[in-house]
Subunit: 346 residues, 2 copies
């Protein structure tokens, strides 16, 4: 197993870190991974996760299936990465527990995986984080430290928190990618001849993991990223040939859509992602309702974006998997979207 | 395999049929079933169904798991029974296709299973059936004949429709019970030491199937039925020691709650069901919201009743499975329940 330490760094000034990030290292390391690495990781975390079902979703002009990661215990695929990052660490590095910097699904995943192993966990969150998310972390038994958004982003860029404990980055972490690869292995084990896999992209750790798993299996489905119209960093990077700064508009959809592709992740996303589909809010809302009424799944916005993208005309006649990444959506928002226009969806 | 013809009858006057129903036969036949019968049925219908996951559901004082039958393709466990009843029939009996008398999940299950085999299907529905349900049947390719509620109930009691085709009763049909037994086999294969299984009861075909499968496996979990407060035919029958007529109050919950236990099913329910839990609407609504926010499942009312019952104090410290029977709920009702009181649930 390639150690994450090869791509770890810390305490750099955040002004220069963008250029100094060892972007070649993480990409190079990732491209050298073998099937065995992914399979071993899947075994290591088998007690933390469930093998989510691949559910048929009726669609007249294609064979569509949903990889229902929203059914993971905390409602998100991120338990895979959190658990794998902890499992892959040296025991002595874990003496002071685990530190991460995500207020959302990843933070919960790390906290749950740490709890499963009796390790203390400390999560740095931006003071913009929703109270309900902070409470979920506290309920899981995590310590939480709230900082300004810019300080929090600094942690994301530098990996330096000043806190004791083993730091796990939510995205640009080789073990995160490896943990997510299990989704690809499971898809392939249930359906051997998939033409297209559609994956929502936030940091890119999930789509890279799935794509690398498929490569390791010798499979060549199209790997399609999807983004919401209000924030399209990967779509823009693909056009420009490099990460660029984009607007982040208002949206009820969180978990995807940042202001730029992380430079560490770009070499992977550049090579592994075949195309990016940008989904409108109207499409996403309709997909959210379809997931509820037809698949009986509660999805978060990113998952609805994946279904909406998987229904785009370009996949006519193909065997398509949409990864429904999670189900953690504000209940009020969810109820409102379900209640609007449901009569006009078909 | 015991033939369903042994327990089939027809064309009796509905005034006398209650007493004449060959209730001993169906119960006797069911009690003679062997593990092999259930396993063969599960194999026969393996292309019609998915093996639904058994999902952990966080609950502080017990180990609770959800058997998520709402994830079946049409959103209900009833595809199991519909497919098995068709599979078990003689080929010559199917020459004129299939007839059933359910406007709901069972009708859809039969229609889908027939469609999967290229058989025509004709469904008799009461004129009180919701338009959306009738349209779902038509969309699946079924012929639909609408009759008055009393004529429809007559069909349920006499199995006589005057239509060509092989009649499949939605409940009191040995093959229906055998098809549902697969749920029990799957639960046991995923979790070998379950203490309690909680099952919503409409006609009783599901709980009897699950209970018989457990017996055949040599397992002895408590088999707990659940009903909604507005209609408690099984609870009342258990107290009286025989089927009795009960009120059927208004409820947003359909699929469970009739005005009496079917006399054919009583000998089975009498013996196989250890206890009946009656759930309030308040509990059911809270459970519906929990299924959405914590399990990311869209359940119909009967499924929510099962979770609510599984959380009753009497199962403290036990390993409990709640069968979430289906997910077909009116979207408007669902949205309204999600939007009410969600802040006060915990």
């Amino acid at each position: 197993m390639i150690s994450h330490h090869a791509v770890r760094f810390s305490s750099l000034s955040k002004d220069v870190v963008g250029d100094l990030m060892d972007r070649i290292s993480i990409a190079e390391a990732a491209f050298q991974l073998k099937l065995k690495d992914f399979e071993e990781a899947a075994n290591r975390i088998s007690n933390d996760i469930i093998e989510t079902p691949l559910l048929p979703f009726d669609c007249p002009d294609r064979k569509l299936m949903l990889k229902a990661e929203c059914l993971q215990e905390l409602g998100s695929f991120k338990i895979r990465a959190g658990a794998n990052a902890i499992e892959a660490a040296d025991e002595k590095d874990l003496q002071n527990g685990v530190v991460t910097a995500s207020a959302g699904n990843f933070g919960q995943g790390v906290a749950k995986a740490a709890l499963n192993r009796g390790l203390p966990v400390h999560v740095v969150v931006p003071d913009t984080a929703a109270t309900v998310k902070v409470e979920a972390l506290l309920d899981l038994g995590a310590k939480v430290t709230s900082v300004s958004f810019s300080d929090w982003w600094g942690v994301m860029m530098t990996r330096s928190t000043g806190l004791d404990g083993f730091f796990i980055h939510p995205v640009a972490e080789l073990e995160v990618i490896i943990g997510n690869a299990g989704i690809g292995l499971e898809i392939a084990s249930k359906s051997s001849d998939v033409d297209v896999i559609v994956v929502p992209v936030g940091g890119g750790g999930m789509i890279c993991g799935i794509a690398l798993a498929m490569k390791a299996l010798g499979k060549t489905p199209q790997i399609i990223a999807c983004e919401i119209e209000s924030s399209t960093p990967l779509y823009s990077a693909k056009i420009q040939g490099k990460p660029v700064k984009v607007e982040r508009g208002n949206s009820w959809i969180d978990g995807i859509g940042s202001t730029s592709v992380l430079s560490e992740m770009w070499p992977l996303l550049d090579v592994l992602v075949d195309d990016v589909i940008v989904v409108s809010h109207l499409e996403a809302e309709r997909a959210l309702r379809s997931l509820s009424s037809k698949a009986h799944l509660v999805a978060e916005g990113a998952g609805a974006v994946a279904l909406a993208a998987a229904m785009h005309p370009q996949f006519f006649g193909q065997k398509v998997v949409a990864v429904i990444s999670g189900g953690n959506i504000d209940p009020k928002t969810y109820g409102e979207i379900l209640n609007s226009n449901y009569l006009y969806d078909n």
